[in-house]
């Protein structure tokens, strides 16, 4: 069941560019990336696309399809009307390199600013013990394939270039959450998350969760619990009172603030 698909692809680089119309033959069961590959192999040998696994596992082929941040390899053509023109542009939050490829170094810089897992010594038998229920929350966040679609859609940086400096973005908020929920980690990163990573900039409008191809509940399970942890440290009267009179939870013991 092959048909001719009308594609509108952004071509250009940092100096400028335009949406260009193409027609390419596609068939049943194909995804947007297939259509672009055929375009590349038959009409535009130099069309720049970043991709890798083509299975939704590596998070390389992030772009915007009809204005929505998507993985091109997981966007099926059958979700569109065959008569419809599909518009594909690079992610609009990051500097463009060429065509559909953007410079995502922002994310790698933010990754470097984050203090890593620092576990205490192992058990005497050389192994570590953590219960499944204690690692499950972190495991959800570690499903992240670093496609950076959440970073792309987040209006804090998408609509405000100047915020990039002080804002780590949803991908790294769930990394903070993962580490803060790690049963054996020895750091307390709450202050850092609020101050350096700009957790307070997030106004939980949930677009990150909407676009996550892994279905990670970034806002509900990551960002909001992280905000609540910051509240524990800074804004909760009962926690403050509990600390004063020595009535407090010892679950956080052994952690040092970084």
């Amino acid at each position: 069941m092959a048909y001719d698909l009308k594609l509108r692809v952004w071509r250009g680089d940092a100096e400028g560019g335009d949406l260009t119309d193409y027609t390419v033959e596609v068939s049943e069961g194909e995804v947007v990336l297939d259509a672009l590959h055929r375009l590349q192999a038959t009409q535009t040998g130099d069309l720049a696309i970043r991709w890798n696994c083509k299975a939704g596992k590596c998070g390389s082929c992030s772009a915007e399809v009809n204005g929505r941040p998507r993985l091109m390899c997981m966007t099926r053509l059958s979700d569109f009307d065959p008569a419809e023109t599909i518009t594909v542009t690079p992610m609009r939050t990051f500097p463009v390199i060429r065509d559909l490829v953007t410079d995502v170094s922002f994310n790698y810089e933010k990754a470097r600013e984050l203090p890593y897992a620092e576990l205490g010594p192992r058990d005497p038998d050389g192994k570590r013990r953590m219960m499944q229920v204690d690692v499950e929350r972190g495991q959800e966040f570690r499903k992240c394939i670093e496609c950076y679609l959440c970073q792309d859609v987040c209006h804090v940086v998408r609509d405000h270039e100047d915020n990039k400096q002080h804002f780590a973005g949803p991908r790294f908020f769930i990394r903070y959450a993962e580490l803060d929920m790690h049963p054996l980690d020895t750091h307390d990163r709450r202050r850092l998350a609020q101050d350096a990573a700009g957790l307070g900039m997030c106004n939980i409008t949930k677009c990150c969760t909407e676009v996550c191809p892994e279905g990670i509940r970034i806002t509900d399970n990551g960002i909001i619990p992280m905000k609540e942890r910051v509240v524990d440290r800074k804004y909760d009267p009962l926690v403050w009172l509990g600390n004063k009179i020595g009535l407090r939870n010892r679950d956080d013991d052994g952690r040092t603030e970084v």
């Binding site: 952004w10 941040p69 690079p90 229920v133 676009v211």
Partner: protein, 273 residues
């Protein structure tokens, strides 16, 4: 709404003029939120400032409960410590449920999108040229959501008490045809209040702060099995927090309006027994 060079049209990014290339009706959801919320605010403001028609024996409107000001007879179950208050008694207590909802993580999403257009929808550029999120006054106060949650639990208990009272025996003049005056009573008002309080509790208990307080703050669930169990329950409710927020908003308005109709004598309560 002029495009600026702060956002998607910043230098270096792919040069595309349009604020969004979305082709679906992305504006539908924020628009609906805007209309409904605005409607509720207008309704609630009018009702809160009216200062009357909030009590129809034995039903007390949730906007006025607990009634601590100079309230009509029978409405004050907790005394009238604010009897000197010159304005509507609703204004004394409404700050708590209002504050709870204003700082609620779900409502924040809804009104930031629908009222402040920050952003109006995902992948649609917002009109503002600068943005500081919840880092400065007044929005930094969103962090006190938990304080309001503590208060909301108290409010929930009071409203539950109101429902119990809504079952109480009716005075003689309200007796049904056969002259029965004793024993518990139930009318449509009781039912509405019951539904309302259930939804209020679902909303209150599915709150993100509640989820955090009951167990979410722990790092070792395995060492706190009971709190872990509570946390899983709350987590399950929490996935529908937005739904409970809407339903309970409607139910509060419906109960109040029903009591208004009763108190102004426009309708008669439907009595079940």
């Amino acid at each position: 709404m002029a495009t600026t060079d702060h956002g998607v049209t910043s230098p270096g990014r792919a040069h595309i003029e349009a604020r969004t290339l979305r082709q679906d009706r992305w504006w539908q959801s924020p628009l609906a939120t805007f209309v409904v919320f605005s409607g509720f605010v207008v309704f609630a403001t009018i009702r809160a400032f009216m200062g009357r028609d909030y009590y129809a024996t034995p039903y007390l409107s949730p906007f006025y409960s607990p009634c601590l000001g100079d309230c009509v007879e029978g409405a004050s179950d907790f005394g009238q410590p604010f009897a000197w208050w010159p304005l509507s008694a609703a204004l004394i207590i409404l700050v708590f449920p209002l504050g709870f909802r204003m700082t609620c993580y779900y409502y924040r999403k809804a009104y930031y999108r629908a009222f402040w257009l920050s952003p109006p929808a995902c992948g649609v550029a917002e009109p503002h040229t600068s943005y500081s999120g919840e880092t400065r006054f007044p929005l930094i106060l969103q962090n006190v959501h938990r304080w309001f949650w503590y208060a909301a639990v108290v409010v929930g208990l009071v409203l539950t008490f109101d429902v119990v009272l809504a079952f109480r025996p009716m005075p003689a003049e309200y007796a049904l045809g056969d002259g029965e005056t004793s024993g518990i009573h139930m009318g449509l008002g009781t039912l509405l209040m019951l539904v309302n309080v259930v939804l209020i509790w679902l909303y209150t208990l599915s709150c993100h702060s509640c989820r955090h307080v009951v167990g979410g703050r722990l790092r070792h669930f395995s060492k706190h099995p009971v709190r872990y169990r509570l946390w899983t329950w709350v987590s399950r409710l929490n996935t529908s927090h937005g739904r409970w927020a809407w339903y309970s908003l409607f139910s509060v308005a419906v109960v109040d309006f029903y009591i208004f109709l009763l108190a102004t004598g426009r309708i008669q309560d439907v009595r079940f027994f």
